[in-house]
């Protein structure tokens, strides 16, 4: 799938040839930094943007062939900012009922019951349901956003940094809630986050994005144990664990800033890569692997175990 946005006269390819396959009931974590295209990917999958080419299929059904209401029954979002994703002038009840009301096919009593049930399930009381978003905390608002996404019983939920704007203690509550709901409702998540530890906790498979492409994908445990792409390694080495005996890691990425409107030739990561060789500057690597496991790098290490020693990855 490729999605582009136009900025003045320049064409930005924000998502460039991304292919994903997510088994039902699993969680695909997507990690990457600013400019990698993960938010654009989320919008493409949700149907908020039309792809320049490619398609999304849910249970074999092409989203492009569905109208907005049918798409809404299959895929729902939970966004990052609990302050701007809820209509400040509607009550919690009204906000959460809206997906049902918009379908036009639900009876009033059904709407009332489904709304009450889901609010109860996410931990929002009857009293809070009559309030406005401004009267709730960030964590409570995010619960409302989750309730709104689930009231219509979709198959897939696209979570775009759902806990990044929340305090650490609240983040944990929301992540636990999301895990429980996935099990109870047999949901499939596409979970986008820049926080690797959160991803490791909730995802079964992880895809690492860089400047519009997936550069590595693997089962979560395997990826964290044995990151094969140099970018994945740098990313993991940058995470600051609460260990006062370690200092600040120097991951050797240099000062070049990844710019999606100016993608380097050859391997798009080569200007920042510690181990880049001549071939990397001219020849774009092809994805190697299959079946939910791949890496796109001329120099990717074979599938051998690595150790995390003093905050850096090394051959075991």
């Amino acid at each position: 799938m490729a999605g582009g946005i136009f900025t003045q006269a320049r064409h930005v390819i924000a998502v460039d040839g991304v292919s994903l396959s997510v088994p039902a009931g699993s969680v695909l974590g997507v990690v990457g930094e600013s400019g990698c295209g993960k938010s654009t990917l989320a919008r493409l999958i949700l149907g908020l943007m039309a792809p320049t080419s490619g398609d999304t299929l849910v249970h074999g059904q092409s989203l492009a062939s569905l109208d907005r209401k049918a798409r809404a029954r299959l895929i729902q979002p939970v966004f990052q900012d609990p302050f701007s994703s809820l209509n400040p002038r509607q009550t919690i009840q009204e906000i959460v009922s809206l997906p049902l009301v918009a379908q036009g096919t639900y009876k009033r009593e059904e709407i009332v019951k489904l709304t009450a049930d889901i609010l109860d399930r996410v931990g929002i009381s009857r009293v809070m349901a009559t309030r406005l978003p401004s009267e709730l905390s960030g964590g409570q608002r995010q619960r409302v956003a989750i309730a709104r996404a689930l009231v219509i019983k979709p198959k897939v939920v696209v979570c775009d940094e759902p806990t990044s704007a929340l305090d650490v203690s609240v983040q944990a509550q929301i992540l636990n809630l999301l895990s429980d709901l996935r099990r109870d409702f047999n949901l499939t998540y596409l979970f986008i986050s820049h926080n690797l530890a959160v991803i490791e906790h909730i995802a079964s498979t992880v895809a690492v994005m860089y400047l519009g492409r997936i550069v590595e994908m693997n089962e979560t445990d395997a990826l964290f144990r044995n990151p094969r792409h140099p970018y994945t390694r740098a990313l993991l080495e940058s995470v600051l664990t609460p260990d006062p005996s370690l200092g600040i890691p120097d991951v050797g990425l240099g000062d070049v800033i990844p710019d999606p409107s100016n993608i380097p030739p050859g391997c798009r990561f080569h200007p920042r890569c510690r181990i880049a060789v001549d071939r990397c500057r001219h020849e774009a690597p092809k994805p190697a692997g299959g079946d939910g496991r791949m890496v796109e790098c001329h120099l990717a290490t074979p599938d051998s175990p690595l150790q995390l020693v003093g905050g850096q990855y090394a051959q075991a």
Partner: protein, 328 residues
Amino acid sequence: MSTPLLDIEDLSITFGEKTAAVRGASFQIGRGETHCIVGESGCGKSVSALAIMNLLVRSAKRTAKRLSFAGEDLLGMDERKMARIRGNRMAMIFQEPMTSLNPAYTIGSQLTESYRRHKRAPQSEAVERAVKLMGRVGITAPEIRLGQFPHQLSGGLRQRVMIAMALMCEPELLIADEPTTALDVTVQAQILRLLNELKDEFGLSILLITHDLGVVARVADHVSVMYAGEVVERASAAQLFADPQHPYTRGLLSCIPVPGRLDRDKPLGSIPGVVPQIAVGFGGCAFRSRCSFADGECAGQIPSQTATAGHTYLCRLTPASQRERATA
């Protein structure tokens, strides 16, 4: 410690009649030290920083037993004298570089402004220093940046500009409020490394405000943990992570997912409930509504306990008694 650079005792900040944002907080920062204030939303950490610089809104009232910088009292200082310290001997960098840099002025003019004012230096000297500092903080092509506007730079570059700006007048104290929260994790590591290097090179003291315990562990010499306006625990970084005493600190540490150390089938530690709004006149422990070890007596006076030298916390219970209650 020998005369601390920043010495604050019993700082209280109220907004209007009703809200007590900070209640009796004390901090001491020595020369060449990095002190982190860590806490979540509403704990009063950002407001404390603004109080030090006397940048609070007019409706806020700050009081303290002592608020001094390099031996000089800041509480009673008139605004003219304070203005000579602000941006000069004491500088601040904020979380969102896009909103703290003026979008309508060039990088160059924003960098040179405080230097020209405080040092009464000519433009050429200020520009020379700006270029030198931009190079030092890792900004490529500094001469070109002089004429650029904030929106032309990435988040990481803007934050480097803010750091350069703060260093223009060679401050003794740098107050950084969540300086890396809005940045990518790889850029965060670079910026924090930079701050550490500059600290050694310029003999800076750094007051770093953050909610991220990972950052605290890696950069702090000393830590103050704040909750609902109070410093609930204070220790060296080594002490805090090796032996946290206060239930809130321990709860917070258990919430953090750490890569490689996760048990995916177990839920993450979390602290139930939300941070309360504290009204003026509130008594007892602010954490008691969310604490698994609290009882009726926690509504009364809470003592400050000492775990070891330099490690104090505000709780009636020791970790041993907390453990007893947990198993009971």
